[in-house]
Symmetry: C2
Subunit: 459 residues, 2 copies
Amino acid sequence: MTADLPDLPDLAPLRAALPEGVLVTDPARLETYRHDRARDPGAGTPVAVALVTSTDDVCAVVRWAAEHRVALVPRGAGSGLSGGASAVDGGLVVSTERMRAITVDPVTRIAVAQPGAFNAAVKAAAAEHGLWYPPDPSSYEFCSIGGNVATNAGGLCCVKYGVTTDYVLGMTVVLADGTAVSLGGPRLKDVAGLSLTKLFVGSEGTLGIITEVVLRLVPAQRPPATLVATFPTLDGSTAAVLDISRRLRPSMLEFMDRYTINAVEDETRMGLDREAEGMLVIQSDEPEQHADAEVALITEICTGHGAEVFATSDPGEGEQFVVARRMAIPAVEKRGSLLLEDVGVPLTALGDLCRGMAAISAAREVEIAVIAHAGDGNTHPLIVFDPADADQSARAQQAYGEVMALAIRLGGTITGEHGVGRLKRDWLPDYLGPDALALNQRVKAALDPLGIMNPGALL
Amino acid sequence: MTADLPDLPDLAPLRAALPEGVLVTDPARLETYRHDRARDPGAGTPVAVALVTSTDDVCAVVRWAAEHRVALVPRGAGSGLSGGASAVDGGLVVSTERMRAITVDPVTRIAVAQPGAFNAAVKAAAAEHGLWYPPDPSSYEFCSIGGNVATNAGGLCCVKYGVTTDYVLGMTVVLADGTAVSLGGPRLKDVAGLSLTKLFVGSEGTLGIITEVVLRLVPAQRPPATLVATFPTLDGSTAAVLDISRRLRPSMLEFMDRYTINAVEDETRMGLDREAEGMLVIQSDEPEQHADAEVALITEICTGHGAEVFATSDPGEGEQFVVARRMAIPAVEKRGSLLLEDVGVPLTALGDLCRGMAAISAAREVEIAVIAHAGDGNTHPLIVFDPADADQSARAQQAYGEVMALAIRLGGTITGEHGVGRLKRDWLPDYLGPDALALNQRVKAALDPLGIMNPGALL
């Protein structure tokens, strides 16, 4: 864990190439850059952190790293949940936290943002012009747009509005040899050359370091109507999700299981039904009369599956339930340490996934709380364990792998929106299969022949 | 032009590896596979055409081609406008015209289509379930979905609904060594591994041959209201486009200049204003009252810029004007041979682009008809010339390059939706710059080291 670095690279030329104060080597400060939110136990200790302020700074860092064969770990806000920003021993963390500028052009509906800007800041800058940047990870208030692009982040609105890549039109990226390249730009249509912008979206820092992104904005969302349905049975809730998806297109369709409902109720005392096996939080942002019609139809579907339904057209009242859903992870976290899954399946397999996870939970004797962006089949099972209990920790780790294997068997993915990072890397070969894995590796080798870009993450 | 092939590859093992009738070598039939709709004068003559019926057939073809170093040219419906499917001398054309199966899952809102299926057939299959596949190239009735994905095709709805890549969730692709790989799948969210699906979208057959695509569908579009505005001045029309885009999000925002209006009027006699310098065809697919409000506001904006406006909420009546817009290219084609441009600029540069093209037209003494997907800044200048007039043909060719150079100067792209193909390849380096070009070449070399995949196209 601690660094044992016989051939520590010479930082002097790097320090000289960077503005005053960019390079940090104070051990106490380095310690705070070892982990992201995944708290990867395998995280190393970096030799330095570069608090880069510009694309030029990043170029200087990468040129130096290429020359000295030093591993680079790009880092946005450190809110990642897969260990994609875990530091590596002897490596250098490139933090974009000082690069937060955002400009918006309301005519072309484009935002240009530096990678360290928070997702919430991009949303706010767009809102000043009556515009909207849709992707909304639950962590939107403290995650960076650079991290969002690097992981192709999702969120709650994706069921209707798609994921991060659907909004990325261009970027500046510093390649593994220190060259900065501009890809795409403020044009909705541009097919000149290979789709390299899209290749870098979701590449988790393994192909280059993104220093600017060009984002597509859309008109402001209408205030949504909200519906909360509590189901006596899990099967009733997953059947309702299918029936809703068959007929409608809500702007949010979220799920919490009984364990999560109780954890959230412990925190909020907002009167959630502790006996319910499943709860859906659903929104419609259609124009008024149409939202009313959608809510009426969803109510009919949910009650048909045995649910109690509460509906409100008051956005503030509705937001309380969305906040409750967003606080699910921290609420469950109070019950123990978490192994956080991100498995997704085709919607029709959602019920099988939930039943399979219940079986894993029973067999391994660990609690698995399930929250889900149910409308797009993307679930976040939270495996709860006591880290002081070695045997339980081992069983939790077993369950962690079994849930991913289950998702693969059901035609699903091991990660829908968090990224592979370092924590899910061991399961990637099973998911991709040898041919697709080899193709990934071929692209990686072509763009990062020295292997200095976020080594150990993703591939 | 005609093939002089000293070392003709041995077709016998390929014929043996393919089902009866797949391999075509009859010279008369080969002739019909030399060109796509771009009528590239540099098109060669293939040694054979493989009318593949399955992914396995494509694998067999590519394995044989890799062994014998034979160039492969993938071909969908042959409707491409950039010569991306021009045959090469001694090469083999891989036509997907027999692979047209489409299946739709209405619950997950997914279509799985073989590459030879027409775009219109995908739309029809989706419509059977009340669903919609938005991308709508003007050629949607006779272009293939495989070609759409290979070029990341656009269309008229993109101004509100985005381009082909926004709807591609996965694919099966045969790589340059003959291995078939499955990428992505029927999941709205999937970030496990690099975004290779998106890399193949828009790769114009230069990285592999797509044999199946997984497409995201959305609920059926509402019947649109239509508005036609004719402007006495070109500046009035481009100013209106900016004002509309600043405040609204129409589902269609198309432009025709005076030359095009007259060519279309010659064909249709529908009473278009032959004196107008610009005409916009605009649609709103918002719910009824909201569409009325949008149409009223757009009317106000257009009349404020001097336009005569005709509006209708009757979808059939509105469709006549969309048909008129779609027939612009064939109508102009009756006036002479065409060099078809596809330049796009940031919306704010649309006026400068139009004025610049008028100057090029005057300087080179060739007519340039301008149609445009104005709402996303994507224009199709049509350079009209008499191929029997060598001097005029040369001036048209000069103008062709000058229009692309102008677009680059204005921060735009040389191709918004048609692809680079073989006709625009010479301008790609100027557009991309040396670093982005080198990055393109590095990815190409990694995935197609023998250079057999559509050589001469794109890169």
